[in-house]
Amino acid sequence: METIYNAHLALKDKKISAKELCAEHIKVAKENLNNTFITLTEDYALEKAKKIDNAGIKSFLDGIPFSLKDLFITKNIRTTAGSKMLYNYVPPYEGTTSANLQNSGAVLIGKVGCDEFGMGSSNENTAFGAVNFPMNKDYLPGGSSGASAVSVLEGSSLFSMGTDTGGSVRLPANFCGLVGYKPTYGRVSRYGQIAYASSLDQASPFARTPLDIAIIMDAITKNDEKDSTQAPIGAMNSAEKILKNKETKLSLAIGIDRSMVDNCREDVRDNLNDSIKLLEKRGVKFKDISLPHLKYSVAVYYVIATSEASSNLARFDGVHFGYSAKGGQDLEDSYALSRSEGFHEEVKRRILLGTFCLSSGYSDEYYSHACKVRKLIYNDFQNAFNECDYVYSPVCATTSFKKDELMTPLQMYMNDLYTIPVNLAGLPSMAIPYGKSSMNSLPTGFQLIGNSFKDEDLILDGHKIFEVLK
C-alpha cells in the first residue's frame, strides 16, 4: 500500500480507515530514524482523518497522509525554511499549495527539513541537522528537498511536496529511486512558497509512480488569483485519463543529445543506455538533437538564482519577523547582525554573490548577459521540440554521493548540470527511476523534458514509460 492510488482503493473498500492509515505513517515519523521532520502535526492530522472517515472517501486524496517541505507556508503551523532565521515563525496565512492539497482531502502530518531556503544539493545546509539516507547511511539523499524524498522512502508519507529551483526535487528523487515532477513554470501557484529565485522556483511533488504524481498535480493546478505569474489554465484531470487509457504503445519521438549520456559515470551511463534500448523496442524513436548552450547552464544559473535570492532575502531584517540579533549599535548594524547570525554560510555566500552580480558596474556584465544566454538555452529546447515530443536527459552524472565527500561550492553546484537547464527554460520535467548502480546498488534514472504547458501529456506518457521500464 505504498502508493496513493493503492491506499485510496484500500480506504474506499474500508480495508483500513483514514485514521489508521495516518496513525501508521505518524508512527514512522515519530520513530525519527532519519531526522526527517522539523514539525509534526499529529493531533491536527488525526482529527482531520477522523472527520474524513465520518464523511466517507470521495476523492483520490481523501485521507492520504503527506508532508510538506518547510518552505511551504502553513497557517498557524511553524514554517522555518530550514533556517535559524525563521526558527519561530508561525505564518498568519495559508499558502495555496498547502490549501489545495488539504482541501482535496490530503492529511498533513508534518513539515520536513531542507537545505536552508532551498539552497543546496546535499541537504546538509540546514539549522535542523542533515537528513539520513535510509538506503545507505554513508550516503546523502540529495537536496534541497531531500527530507521530502526521505519521508516517502521511509514510509512516513505517501507523497511529499518539494520545490525545484535548479533540480531540488528531481535530484533527490533520482538519488532515492522515486518519481519527481517539476511542472512548467507558471502551472502551479507560488503563493505561500518562500521564495529563493522567483523566476525558477516551482512547487514539485515526490511520489512512487506517475499515476500518484497525476493525482497530486490535479489538486495543485487550480487557478490562483494570488499569483499573477500562474497561467490561468485551470486544474488538470490527468489521473482519470491515465486510468481510462488502454493504449500501451509508445509512438513517441524523443530527442537525445548523446554527449550528455556519454559524460555520465559508467554505472549511470550503462543503465541509461539500457533504458533507451528498452524504450526503442517498445516503439520510441530516439532522434539525435543538439543542445549546444546547455553547457553554460550552471554559470547562468548561479548568476540569475543568486541575483534573485539577494533581492528576495532582503526582507529578512530582524524587524518584521524572524531572528533578531541583540547588541546592534544602531538600526543598520542590527540589520547586518541579524542577517549574519540568522543565515547559514551557503545562504550568505549566495546573497553576497547575487549582490555582486547586481551591483553597479557589474550588472550588465553579469546579470544582463546571463539572461541573454538563458534565452539561447530556451531557444535550444524550442529548436529540439520542432523535431521531437520530449527530450531525454540524465538527472545526474552520478548516483547519490557520500557524506564525507568533500566538495568545493563549485563542485557541489555541478551536480545540478542536467537539471538546471529545465528551470532556466521554464519547462516541465519528470525524473523517472530506472535501474540500480553496478558500483553501489543505489538508484539511477533519467528525466523526460516536455515543452511548456505539455504537463498533462508528459504525465500520461511518463506513466506509460514508467510501466514499460518497471
Binding site: 498568519p92 513554470y185 523566476s199 553554460y296 547562468v300 518584521h320 538600526l331 527554460a425 511548456s452 504547458f453
Partner: protein
C-alpha cells in the same frame, strides 16, 4: 581577462548586502568568489549582441500558451479583497507595540 576579486571588493559587497563577515570569513569568501566568478567568466565567450534578455520564462510561456495551445491569458478583475489581519501579522515580529514594529531609534534625543 578575469576580474580582480580582492578583500576590499568582498567587504564592499558585504556592506551592500547587510551581512557582517569576520576577517577570516573575508578570506574564505574571497577564495570561493574567485573560483565561482572565474567559472562564470566562460559566459563571456558567447556573442549575445543580437539576443534578448530572458529574465522570467512567464512571458514566453504565456505567448506559447496563447499562440500554440489556443489559451487565453486575460488577467483577473482588479477588485478589493481583505488583507491580512494586522494583529496576526505583527505577532511574529521580535518587537512590537500597538500593532507597529518597534526598532532602535534612528534620531538621537538632543
Amino acid at each position: 581577462m578575469s576580474l580582480n576579486i580582492n578583500k576590499e571588493l568582498v567587504q564592499h559587497i558585504s556592506k551592500l548586502a547587510r551581512i557582517k563577515i569576520s576577517d577570516d570569513e573575508v578570506m574564505e569568501y574571497e577564495k570561493n568568489f574567485k573560483s565561482i566568478v572565474d567559472y562564470i567568466e566562460q559566459l563571456k565567450e558567447i556573442d549575445t549582441s543580437k539576443v534578448e534578455m530572458l529574465s522570467n520564462p512567464m512571458t514566453l510561456n504565456l505567448e506559447y500558451y496563447e499562440k500554440e495551445l489556443g489559451g487565453s491569458r486575460k488577467q483577473r478583475a482588479d477588485k478589493i479583497a481583505p488583507s491580512l489581519n494586522v494583529k496576526e501579522v505583527v505577532k511574529n515580529a521580535p518587537n512590537y507595540k500597538n500593532n507597529e514594529f518597534k526598532i532602535q531609534s534612528v534620531i538621537e534625543n538632543s
